[in-house]
Amino acid sequence: VAAALLGEGSTAMLFLRLVVALPLGVLLTCAPIEAQSLEAGVARVDITPPTGLVLQGYPGVGRLATGVRDPLLARILVVRSGATRVALVDLDLIAVLEPGYLTQLYEAVKDDVPNLLVTAIHTHSGPALIPGLSPPPRDWEATAVAKISRAIHEAIIHSVSVRLGVGYGVAHLGHNRLRKNRDGGVTWFEKNWTGVSTAPVDPTVAVLRIDDLSGNPIAVLVNYACHPVIFGPDSQLYSADFPGAMTEVVERALGDKPLCLFLQGAAGDINPIYAVTPLAQGAVELSHRTGTQLGLIAARVAEQIQTTADSATSLQFVEDNLKFRSRWDATQWRAADPNNAAMIAAKTQSVYELPVTTMLINKQIAFLGMPGEPFVDFQLQWRARCPVRDCFFLGYANGYYGYFPTIDAARWGGYGAAHPSTWIEVGAGEEMLERALIRVYEMLERIKPVPEDLR
């Protein structure tokens, strides 16, 4: 009609076509593309080994497991955004599985989940996984891998769209076990029943709550730095120590709906106040008390978190392999300790490749994983320097390479700082931390791939 009135090809007709077509074009361009949602699923599986295995964490030939105080679990959270999927596997163990079994696990799930972040709570009441005198329980490891891979698939199957929220609490349940003396020496400060102030300590309890879109909690992640060593060498039962009690308290407080994962932080120099308590002096009660206290704080934080669904979700994951030298001089060490040649050889290799994991959810929540026992200063630094508000620190992640003291702590010395339990070169922790920081900046596109004057 318009063409007939205005004349086909006339200027007025062209203008009319433009006026009609332009908003239509804009409308088509802006038509809502279904927003990419964040999905998550959880699963748990009992991986408690059979009795009779060597328990690791304290000396004593023959500290064999005679039973189960509380089962050792693998807890799995699978998260997906777009094409990226990550499985966070949280183990009630002293360390992650040996490298060969981690590879098996990766191979078993890689088609569905190409990114794994496997971490351990570091209980000292579990089977031996850190290379040492006790042979690792390889049959059990193979069984555990099979169970964990099935659980990962189960978590994938049960994945739903989710919304997230983060909150923080404070718990004074740990102390720094390396007490610096005025004479420049360090005293081993194992237990702290009287609550003497020590430093540095990070009392932060960081909680990530993951809800389905109806607001039902699916998972609660609790990040806190403290060695699970309330049970001492006299305990011969498998146990997750205080984190086991903590997870129960959190799950119960939230109506037994979510799966609670305890993410061990940078606990390299942090002991619980009631560390290494003999059973006869109430270790069971104190472990339960510590876990309950932490659980109540975490639950209170979780209950107050208002989760939100981001309109633009994202999931970024990078694992860097950083090369480090051994810290020690092999020749001098062999001369000083001629009876430990095999251990010295293992800890004085020319190069070690350490996996450093960085993950960023929705450009807002950052995770750093280090493959060993970082000192707590790194966790404090991570939180202070990380460019997003919510930053989680995971020790014992994707490998185990002993302790990572800060450069300053390495100077002071003491257990974990200058003992055979640390063998990666001084400064490795700082470099790993900074690599993760750079990765987060890159993920946020704040460190750009091209110089600004050449864009």
């Binding site: 690791q56 964490g57 000396p59 257990y415 003992h419 001084v426 750079i438 900046y441 704040r446 004057d453």
Partner: protein
């Protein structure tokens, strides 16, 4: 030619070898290290001002316009401090230049100084003046300019002179503050960066390190032999319109110090981590009083140095010198080939005479080996050198972690690889932090500082080579 003349010449020729041998032996005897129980020091300085007509360092515009130096406002010096501690001898060479000479020049200097003056360790550092001749790693015709070779000979001779005059010395140090500079990166509320190229109104900025550190080296009679001044501030009061050689405010500072102290000590300026620090009167045009502003800046700093130096009480120091010069390898921050080609495309071929010169190679390097230097004097003074312009936070960080009485950060030392921003600064961007003036991997500055500190702690025996085997808690077997 008479028979008598002929005989004399013949005799001279016959015995000349003996004469030369005697001279050589005498020289050797005088210069050979005498290993005493006290620290010894010797100083020298030499004018290395090149002839006019050379391209100048520091401003790409000046290079593009082919504006060369026309004369000398104040001469450019190399100043040398040779220290002997026990069996070790080290030479610190400060240059009134934009950067150090290339690696070949440094190697030749080190080798020659080793032969002629028994120098074990060499630290060469530049003040980073932007009113000196341009110095390149590789010259277009692959031949170093004659003045660089002449400068090499002069510095060799100055080191030799300083070594010849070694004498027992006493050390002292103290710090003060000078308010002559600011941080040229203004961080906006949205975390972006606005470059503040000058700041005549002295608007407060952060981070800045106003610390002036002074090391006083006295003869045994208490008269000052040398004054080392460490401060972080770009010597760029003169801008691109200046075509006269000058050490910028450093020359005024040094004149102020040497004229005020007895026995006219040699004053060595050690540039700090000035990667993001400008003088308030940066790049003042000549017709707006650049010379006066240069003098104000230098006098302010010099007056503070004099105040500090006068208050220092030197003391006999242990004859100990410890040194590390390690090559640390870093990847490139940018894609090597794309970076090289984009630089050429956007800025033209002269860009490599201004910055990013190590990238101008075929194939473009994807890794760079940087010298990180650590010097400990008498286990009392720690010096860390980085081969470029570190941002000032590294200097503040070094001081906070220093394990000895005093620590100095030296930029532009034993090589030149432009800027080293902190990780945070790299994420914010701006000149020297997110542009082509920085190309070594992000985090390199943090790594170099940690590396140098670890070397210092190792030297001090604070980091062991063997783990503690006694009294370890009986855990994890």
């Amino acid at each position: 030619m008479s028979t008598q003349e002929y005989s004399w010449k013949k005799m001279t020729a016959r015995w000349s070898w003996l004469f030369l041998l005697i001279i050589r032996v005498l020289t050797w005897v005088v210069a050979v290290p005498v290993f005493g129980a006290t620290l010894e020091g010797g100083v020298a300085q030499v004018d290395i001002t090149p002839p006019p007509g050379l391209p100048m360092y520091g401003y790409l515009d000046r290079l593009r316009k082919h504006q060369v130096a026309i004369s000398t406002l104040d001469p450019l010096y190399a100043r040398v401090l040779v220290l002997q501690g026990g069996l070790k001898r080290a030479a610190l060479v400060t240059l009134d230049l934009g950067r150090t000479f290339n690696q070949s020049w440094l190697d030749r200097l080190h080798n020659t100084a080793k032969q002629t003056s028994q120098i074990d360790e060499l630290i060469v550092t530049a003040s980073h003046t932007h009113s000196g001749p341009n110095v390149l790693d590789v010259y277009p015709d692959n031949r170093s300019p004659a003045w660089e070779t002449a400068a090499l000979d002069k510095v060799v001779e100055a080191i030799h002179r300083a070594a010849l005059h070694l004498e027992p010395v006493r050390l002292g140090s103290a710090s003060g503050g000078a308010n002559i500079c600011y941080n040229r990166r203004h961080i906006d509320l949205d975390n972006s960066v606005t470059m503040l190229w000058s700041n005549a109104n002295k608007i407060p900025t952060t981070p800045v390190d106003p610390t002036v550190t002074v090391i006083r080296i006295d003869r045994q009679d208490g008269t000052p032999l040398a004054i080392l001044v460490n401060y972080a501030c770009h010597p760029i009061v003169f801008g691109a319109d200046n075509r006269q050689y000058s050490a910028d405010y450093v020359s005024t500072m040094i004149a102020t110090v040497t004229n005020a102290l007895p026995a006219k000590p040699i004053c060595l300026f050690v540039q700090g981590a000035d990667g993001d620090i400008n003088p308030y009167y940066a790049t003042t045009p000549l017709n707006q009083g650049a010379v006066e502003k240069r003098d104000w800046t230098g006098r302010e700093l010099g007056t503070e140095v004099v105040r500090i130096a006068r208050a220092i009480e030197t003391r006999a120091s242990a004859a100990l010198l410890d040194f590390a010069d390690d090559e640390v390898v870093f990847p490139l921050r940018w894609h090597p080939k794309e970076f090289h080609d984009d630089l050429l495309h956007v800025h033209g071929p002269l860009v490599f005479q201004d910055h990013a010169e190590p990238i101008d190679a075929f194939p473009s390097p994807n890794k760079l080996a940087l010298h990180v230097t650590m010097l400990l004097i008498s286990r009392q003074i720690g010096i860390v050198g980085m081969p470029g312009g570190p941002f000032v936070e590294f200097q503040i960080n070094l001081r906070a972690r220093c394990p000895v009485e005093v620590c100095l950060m030296m930029g532009y030392t034993n090589g030149f690889f432009d800027y080293f921003p902190t990780i945070l600064a790299a994420s914010q961007g701006g000149y020297g932090a997110g542009d082509s003036n920085t190309y070594v991997a992000v985090g390199a500055g943090e790594r170099m500082l940690d590396h140098a500190l670890i070397r210092m702690y190792e030297t001090l025996g604070e980091l062991r080579a063997v783990p503690e085997l006694e009294n370890q808690p009986q855990r994890k077997r």
